[in-house]
């Protein structure tokens, strides 16, 4: 069984147009104990889902342009008017009005630090990050929330100044296109495909 011609999707006239294969079928295999008694079967599954980014699409698109977008409540009547959010929130969690987009790239370059972190050798299936993974939760001056990401260079510490780097050469259009490095890292040291 091959997995050639894996499915791709386009949107035309507001509808998904799919081409190729979105699933591949494989035979079941029996599960037996030492005596040969049948206990069950394997159920192989290989399928591709379609996922809409909706109002968050600008965030994922702009990582490939080396931009970090957040949002801000622009409703003067809201009690938390002016609060800035990243992760990008499409709507204000209090007044539910549509938030205004704000470019946080410069703020992140100047005022980002590690709120907390962890280092792990363990990963789940489908992981693509190199182990050990250094998770960092990054806080920004004047921002209400604390963004999770991964550190590509160095060892994390609480309070450490970090700057964002972006997968601009071969973007995946996922959160993986954003990573962090210690402030002062030289461009020559960045991982493949990443730029400041």
């Amino acid at each position: 069984m091959t997995t050639q011609n894996r499915g791709t999707v386009k949107v035309e006239n507001g509808r998904y147009r799919v081409t190729g294969n979105f699933h591949y079928a494989y035979p079941n295999e029996p599960i037996r104990d030492e005596s040969g008694k049948l206990l069950g079967i394997t159920n192989p599954a290989d399928m591709t889902h379609i996922h809409a980014y909706g109002g968050e699409a600008p965030f994922f698109e702009n990582l490939s342009n080396a931009k970090l977008l957040g949002t801000k409540c622009a409703n003067p009547k809201c009690e938390t008017y002016g609060s800035v959010y990243i992760p990008y929130r499409i709507h204000c969690p209090d007044c539910l009005m549509r938030n205004e987009e704000v470019d946080l790239t410069e703020l992140a370059r100047k005022g980002a630090s590690v709120h907390t972190f962890m280092i792990t050798e363990r990963t789940g299936a489908f992981n693509t990050l190199e182990k050990p993974i250094r998770f960092v939760n990054v806080e920004f001056e004047g921002v209400s929330t604390i963004l999770m990401g991964y550190l590509s260079i160095g060892e994390p510490e609480i309070g450490m100044k970090v700057v964002p780097i972006f997968q601009t050469k071969k973007p995946t259009f996922t959160i993986m296109d954003l990573s962090w490095v210690p402030a002062g890292t030289s461009a020559a040291d960045l991982p493949e495909g990443f730029t400041f």
Binding site: I31, E56, T123, G124, A125, M148, I158
Partner: protein, 474 residues
């Protein structure tokens, strides 16, 4: 939201009191290849029926609606698995619904059944939970669990939930634990305690007689957490029957009052905005003014160190049951010890200790069945079942198992349900020679906390012997 209205802070007022009538559990294990889920569910139902000397048919006659806790369809690869179970229990055509709130699924299932009885919709309701986490290899299981984090913003980062959780542990470790070796040893003591209590529980998956050094020498998962600091992945089922007063006393002469509440917080810890600490009845407004001075970095609430969902669930439940100080008013607790460090965080969220001082609950010996320093009964024993670290974490069943374990103490029947040689044998387990009776003598009131992941959902279930209700009950 970071501010609450009067309406949101209302202590729930139920239309009628709700009683716990009985409960039962299957065996719990890492894998049970010889049984289908429905067989485990029926095992737990049979134990619940037998506990009140009823046949399964007799017990079923009382049931009017059913609440099924099963967290991850992915694990069983069966959508609408609740309908399968409902049929196999022979409960069609009664109304039933599936409940999913991650690790809090068991507690939430009880919450739903509770409201059904309290409202008068049903005189008797079944809350049944199960999980089977043995049908994918561990790394794929980790991917599925990580899929309960935000799929766009978190899951792609390693597909490992521990990664999203351990950042909280790291912050607590540095701010409130001050990276002290003594604190690290206190964490290890929790694992030693819970694995040790699991040795007295025939249902338990991971009984171990270990030392603090064993925990400290176990493989690192994510500093400062090691393998023995972490909860289990499990297979199994558990259920309870809830009823109104009249029906409860028809079914048994000794039902327990039950109160259930729920709180929540953002799925991504990232989104938790700084706010004032909501206070519990045993706390004062000034008490946390200098928290950031005593614990530098600890002034952001809940930040990455507190679980607001647990605090809100406790706030509602304490109000409902009339609890002012959990350590004084309760006789035992079952907490969601997903990790030793989150166990300590929870002591603070639910007011067993003030924020920043959770470790003293362990270090005082209060959390033990028998205080190791005084030889006297512990003030508020925790997780005598073995908890998630020693007994099991069959997600949908966990919160229900905790409630059953607390209830058996209040019923004075813990020993009967854990000493039985036949049960040890049926589960193919060896009862230890030094098996110890952990019955909490004279237990009248207890609490179970069911908790999801990084704290997106938490429920609090309080059990009270009807002769020992607290004043000021709502």
């Amino acid at each position: 939201m970071i501010k609450f209205s009067k309406q949101q802070l209302k202590i729930p007022q139920m239309s009628k009191p709700v009683y716990l009538v009985t409960g039962g559990m299957s065996k719990f294990d890492r894998a049970i290849p010889e049984k289908r889920t429905e067989e485990l569910v029926i095992d737990s139902f049979l134990e619940a029926a037998e506990f009140i000397n009823k046949s399964p048919e007799e017990l079923k006659q009382y049931i009017h609606s059913c609440y099924y806790g099963h967290f991850a369809d992915h694990f069983g690869d069966q959508l609408l698995g609740e309908a399968v179970i409902h049929d196999r229990l022979g409960l069609d055509p009664l109304g039933n619904v599936g409940i999913k709130t991650g690790g809090a699924t068991g507690g939430s299932t009880i919450w739903e059944a509770y409201k059904a009885v309290a409202s008068g919709y049903s005189d008797t309701a079944l809350a049944m939970g199960w999980e089977r986490m043995d049908e994918v290899p561990t790394d794929e299981g980790n991917h599925y669990i990580a899929s309960a984090a935000d799929k766009d913003w978190e899951t792609p980062l390693g597909h490992i939930y521990t990664g999203y959780y351990a950042v909280m542990a790291q912050k607590y470790w540095q701010v409130f634990g001050k990276e002290e070796e003594s604190f690290r040893r206190t964490l290890a003591e929790i694992a030693v305690k819970n694995k040790g209590y699991a040795r007295m529980n025939p249902h338990a998956q991971s009984p171990m007689k270990i030392t603090v050094e064993d925990v400290l020498n176990s493989p690192i998962v994510a500093h400062p957490l090691r393998a023995l600091d972490c909860c289990l992945m499990s297979v199994g089922a558990s259920c309870v029957i809830l009823a109104d007063e009249k029906t409860a006393y028809e079914m048994t002469d000794n039902p327990l009052l039950l109160y259930s509440s729920a709180g929540s917080h953002t799925l991504r810890v990232a989104d938790r905005r700084d706010m004032a600490i909501p206070l519990l009845p045993n706390e004062s407004p000034d008490q946390y003014k200098d928290l950031g001075v005593r614990f530098p970095g600890g002034d952001r609430y809940p930040g990455f160190t507190g679980f607001l969902a647990a605090r809100m669930a406790a706030y509602y439940a304490y109000g409902m049951a009339g609890i002012v100080d959990p350590t004084e008013d309760l006789d035992l607790v079952e907490l969601h010890d997903a990790f030793t460090i989150s166990d300590i965080q929870t002591y603070e969220d639910i007011g067993i200790r003030p924020y920043g001082e959770g470790r003293s609950y362990v270090e005082s010996g209060d959390c033990y069945h028998t205080n190791p320093f005084t030889g006297q009964p512990g003030k508020l024993p925790a997780n005598l079942s073995g908890g998630l670290i020693g007994c099991m974490h069959a997600v949908g069943a966990t919160g229900i198992m905790q409630v059953i374990e607390v209830a058996q103490h209040i019923w004075g029947r813990w020993s009967e349900m854990h000493a039985d040689e036949a049960k040890w044998k049926r589960f193919n387990r060896v009862k230890p020679d030094d098996w110890t009776d952990l019955q909490v003598k004279g237990a009248k009131r207890g609490l179970a906390i069911s908790h999801a992941g990084v704290g997106s959902h938490v429920t609090a279930t309080v059990l009270v012997h009807p002769d020992h209700q607290l004043k000021g009950r709502g």
